[in-house]
Amino acid sequence: MAIIEVRDLVKSYNGLPAVNGVSFSVEEGEIFGFLGPNGAGKTTTINILCTLLASDSGSSMVNGFDSMTEPHGVRSSIGLVFQEMTLDNELTAYENLKFHCYLYKMKRALTAQRIEELLAVVGLSDRKNDLVKKFSGGMKRRLEIARGLLHRPKVLFLDEPTLGLDPQTRRNVWEFIADLRAREGNTVFMTTHYMDEAEACDRIAIIDGGRIIACDTPENLKLSLRGDTISLETEDDAKACLELKEGLGLEPTMIKDGGLTLIVEHGEKEIPRILKGLSVGVRTVNLKRPTLDDVFLHMTGREIREDKNMNRNSRQPFRR
């Protein structure tokens, strides 16, 4: 059975649908990504799954518990890292983690060891007695992720886990998440609007305007586009063009300024075949694979980061 199962989820704010009939499922142990621009409904979906928000209609199950009717079961099964910081700045790193252990009713005897273990994993052991307000953004993030994992949740929810972090820290956080999954074996559900992060997921759902428009592995999503583009510069483009058509059955296009392009399904397999099949000299070969950016553009007709000048910190509506 899937660990997360969402069917026809709908949630509106003042008559405007934020989530408009979303369905998907996540298998145990997967890293599942929710990719979409700001305001697409990612955070609203997460908040409903995590029992912070009531949906208008539809169902969502996490670890076999209904988010609406069995919030306790859901809450015990999940760990959460929100977009914004949710640490207590006036407490130390250790105290923040300890607070969490009590809140989740963890066995007293196990807590100290578990805290130390996770502090070591996130590389904060030597700072454990410092007040969190002295931490940098990246350290706080790591501490939050550690906290989200303390009670060994079945599913770790990460809402834009690298938002507002510098590229170096982002990479560290990301490596850390992948590493953790390998170590703890839990399911990771994350939202992002960074393509490179989505690439690293096992499967992603592309969400736009409150609807899921595609859901598959990054590889398959890219394959669903027309394919890879190979560009060639040769000694004699006309002759090369003819040889490619007649000898290899491809459909190259001559470019006015010189050179050829052709679209194939598996570029990396075609290149050796092309090079072998041509009798004219080849000066350069260039392979361009479609990116998730291209997938998003293709599916929605616009770039994911058109709205990047929007206020990224604008909060999603949320109530108690």
């Binding site: 009531a54 929100f82 949710t86 006036e90 009590y102 009713k105 509506p317 109530r319």
Partner: protein, 259 residues
């Protein structure tokens, strides 16, 4: 009552925060003393002129003590519940809301921590009692622990009810000026309520702090006279208890709602 690990840790957190914020600690200890010794000294000459033999010098200051204790509890209780708004603004509230604990646990945790902090601050003021001529014995201290706890609890529940509806800290100023200060001024803390004009007097009758301060007067100023308690003690206790129960129920309900 639900007292478990989660309640314990919520209370501990509030205590840690309180004692770490030096400014807050100092303010809560110094502000009542300013009222007592500066406002009290200034007004005492006006309210109770000193006789030739020096009598009546401290009378108004003694009268102020129950009121200032009430004020301290009021400010402390409301301020500690503002940590809910603070937590919401800085995200920490979510850490508690997604935990597998009931909303009632969070409410109880905040109630107990607010009550305990107010009790601590209110009782600290009893230390100055002997210096201004208010005699207190063990019996009075015990009575005060009970009454201060009760009043602190009711005001914390009231603050929690407000905090549940405040979306940001900006609202705090409005609450301060339109609810907290009028509650203080119309509670009999600074002057007896019986001489107030009728409309204002009516407000004092629905103000829980009036009954709280009145109860303190019963214990601290048992002598009678024009500056002593104005309501029966039993009425004080009943009014404050009922108010506490209603506010607790309302705030528990406000917190259990989901958007």
């Amino acid at each position: 009552m639900i007292v478990n690990n989660a309640v314990y840790v919520i209370v501990m957190r509030e205590f840690k925060r309180f004692f770490r914020q030096r400014g807050r600690l100092l303010t809560t200890l110094v502000r009542p003393l300013l009222w007592l010794f500066i406002v009290g000294t200034g007004l005492s000459r006006l309210v109770a002129p000193v006789g030739d033999d020096g009598s009546g010098a401290g009378e108004y200051m003694q009268f102020l003590l129950p009121g200032v204790i009430g004020m301290t509890i009021l400010f402390s209780s409301i301020f500690s519940t503002m940590s809910v708004v603070w937590d919401r603004e800085f995200g920490f509230l979510r850490e508690m809301l997604v935990a597998p604990v009931s909303r009632l646990t969070i409410v109880v945790g905040k109630l107990l921590s607010g009550t305990a902090l107010s009790l601590f601050q209110g009782m600290m003021l009893l230390i100055v009692a002997p210096f201004i001529g208010v005699e207190i014995g063990l019996g009075q201290v015990i009575a005060m622990v009970f009454l201060v706890s009760l009043v602190s609890f009711s005001l914390t529940a009231f603050g929690l009810f407000i905090a549940a509806h405040l979306k940001s800290l900006e609202g705090f100023n409005v609450i301060m000026n339109f609810i907290i200060l009028p509650m203080f001024f119309l509670s009999g803390a600074l002057y007896p309520v019986e001489h107030l004009p009728t409309p204002l007097k009516l407000v004092t009758y629905i103000n829980p702090l009036s009954y709280g301060v009145d109860a303190f007067k019963h214990v601290l100023l048992p002598g009678g006279g024009r500056l002593s308690a104005e309501f029966p003690l039993i009425l004080d206790i009943i009014f404050v208890s009922v108010f506490a129960a209603v506010m607790m129920a309302l705030s528990a309900r406000a917190f259990s709602k989901r958007g």
